[in-house]
Amino acid sequence: MVTVTMTVNGRQVSKEVEDRRLLVDFLREDLELTGTHVGCDTSQCGACVVHLDGKAIKSCTILAAQADGTSITTIEGLANGADLHPLQAAFKEHHGLQCGYCTPGMIMSGVDIIRRHEGQLDEDTVRHELEGNICRCTGYHNIVKAILAAAQEMHGEVRQAAE
């Protein structure tokens, strides 16, 4: 057993867990943050993507103990109170989800793609960088649209703030 301490969605948590506890199970089982999903057992599907110190990672591929001392953001922590994150809003507006199961991971990956490219995105880049996330419902068409739309909106905001 090992004690892990981390900040999850702005709240500090500390728990004793089995050494083998995966971060995704720590989030889902110990913290009851069930928005992060498990869709496979080979780190291929991306339903479990969260942000660790601001970067997208697959929470099924890291032990909870390895995340000790870090700051984690899950899908539950993405919205600012009642205000949806622009990518959450874009997923709804562009019908970027159907069953909703891959959606948390898609959104967390999408936010990271937009962050890394500072909004300078094209369709080809989005499609290639979504390689680690599988959706079986949407055919990706509307997910790509949603990410491009949010990137434009967020990039616009960044530019405005800089002016």
Binding site: T34, G35, H37, G100, G139, H141, N142
Partner: protein, 790 residues
Amino acid sequence: MAQDGIGARVARKEDKRFITGKGRYVDDMRVAGMKHVAFVRSPYAHAKVGGINSEQARNMPGVLAVLTGSELVADGIGNLICGWMVHSKDGTPMNMGAWPALAPEVVRFVGQAVAMVIAETRGEARDAADVVAVEWEELPAITDPAKALGEGVPQLHPEAKGNLIYDWEIGDKAAADKALSEAAHVTRMEIVNNRLVPNAMEPRAALAQYDAADDHFTLWTTSQNPHVARLVLSAFYNVAPEHKLRVIAPDVGGGFGSKIFIYPEEVACLWAARKTGLAVKWTGDRSEAFLTDAHGRDHVTVAEMAFDANNRITAFKIDTIANFGAYMSLFSSSVPTYLYATLLSGQYDIPTIHCNVRGVYTNTAPVDAYRGAGRPEATYVVERMMETAARELGVAPPELRRTNFIREFPHQTPVIMNYDAGDYEASLSAALSASDYAGFGERKAEAARRGKLRGIGLSCYIEACGIAPSQAVGSLGAGVGLWESAEVRVNPVGTIEVLTGSHSHGQGHETTFAQLVAERLGVPIDNVSIVHGDTDKVQFGMGTYGSRSGAVGMSAISKAIDKVEAKAKKLAAHLLEAAEGDIEIADGEVRVAGTDKKLGWHEVCLAAYTAHNMPEGMEPGLKEGAFYDPANFTFPAGAYVCEVEVDPDTGHTEIVQFVAADDFGRVINPMIVEGQVHGGIAQGVGQAILEGCIYDAESGQLITASYNDYAMPRAHDLPSFKVSTTETICPSNPIGMKGCGEAGAIGTPPAVINAITDAIDNNDLSMPATPEKVWRALRAGAAPMRQAAE
């Protein structure tokens, strides 16, 4: 019309919980005292089960119980059933072997469960399952359906000699043979429809609870039809009486057919909950999903199509072997028969059709309905044949189709179906125009300058949705009725709850069903909520599959609204002292036509519940239910055009354009319909160029048992799609809807393969058209179809 009524692109009401991580899927559920289940699964494709020694497992940390198949059978738990009886052509019933939820004596596919471990945590349960010692005696296995028939090969079930489940036929064989012998031209092909794994992103899960005080069971399960699950679990499996069993299918993360069926794990968990008094949860991992979810397709077919001198089809003869896997799943028997052979007329006027289907047992996971269920297999045969025939006859592929289109409706095919409405020319023209089919030659030449082989392929599909009517399917062997139920409950304040027997696992019913109510009763859709997926709330329903929720489920709601509307009008006429026929309901008001006399919708609703002033004899309240049994199937149809570029050096195929023109009848929410088509196309592209479920022919091991080995379509494998709809209204239901959920998966595979074979000028290519296969076909250079025709 209500602003958010029929035809409006309304953003989905259900999205908020999904995009904020507040969805509630079965694995998110937890109940007090809940324990965890892991199954002990067979490592062999075919083996005798000897003794099971669980002593070491029972002593592992956290382990509470280890239960085996012999205990399950001793407790009187029934075998899993197939709910559609198909008879062979000699009149004998299908040959069905027994399928116990935990195998006590013999396992017949890799992953079949023989025991279950219950422990405090999931990890402890899995650790213990790993050390349960089973004495296996391995038996020879067979996985190829074409080689499984007959003596001298491994025999799976004593009930099925030669591994034959049935030998079934439809149509007129003698007439087909005669037409073939007299034909001006015959196109012949051997066509394999590759086995697929449905791969809903949420793995299957079951949480079972038993309350001894009330002798009551609750099962949370990843199901597309919770009521049918309750019926089957109670009536056939003997795990709980129907009135004491509540089945809840909460948010379900995709189904595509794979979650229609009742699986061993649900049966075993319910049995274990009562036996141990513990609430138990099992959540499958992806490898278990690959091994044990019902797979799809897996046909081997020989087809012959006869043409006269005017290029008109005179006969179509099809011989198919269908792989059922190791056991007959809930609806499997109907998929390669009544859902397949009855669509082999396609969009074409074919005077004579004969189809023979042999269903076969093999040592593989059970095969059942997967998105389209029989119609993709039929469409693939018909549309590969049409494209090939066009090449052989030297006719442009659109022209051969046009020559043979059905143009008058209703149209009775030789294989049961009576098409009620359609305009195939409209879809084809729309698709050819949107794809600039005419300009393909220039694009091909331009691609050639870049060293790429460009090809174009067509597919004109038809499907049958909203499977029905109950009496007709009953006469064909179905064990259930195929109606749908609905209840419309208007509250005293005018808000509305709609209870439906269909189930949403991504299709957006909470929005589209509310749009129908908004349209009909003039209330905002935010004042409407949709209740589904819980047998304690909705009395009965048939769930969601076969694109039935709109055409059948919404028709039931429409019928219930008719009754609500009639009562509200009668009450309003009384209150407003007007004639009932003059009352109209719109925009949240109940008005006397042509006057300024009116009441708010909410005022009429309140009056129904205060009951202070009602017409003589009227019952208080405003709540009505309806059952709707369709008069016919619905027949969505469309035309797809796929354009590809093949890299001759690597064999890699890139889909450079994909156009779909569908006729779904009335469209409630175009945004949602487009999304359904996108998803279907992606699964169709997956089948055509990526996905294939491969078993090792010798050992029966599943080679493609994870996402490392099974090529799921990813974002960069697909283009953006150009989709549009044409519209012929369905005359057989009150809304005019046909259904859209499966179209993409049905129409796409032949369009893609027709495009690739066009690009490489070699028709000898099977799905999935992987780069290696395409590369080999290019280098083989043998038998390009145009030469073969000469």
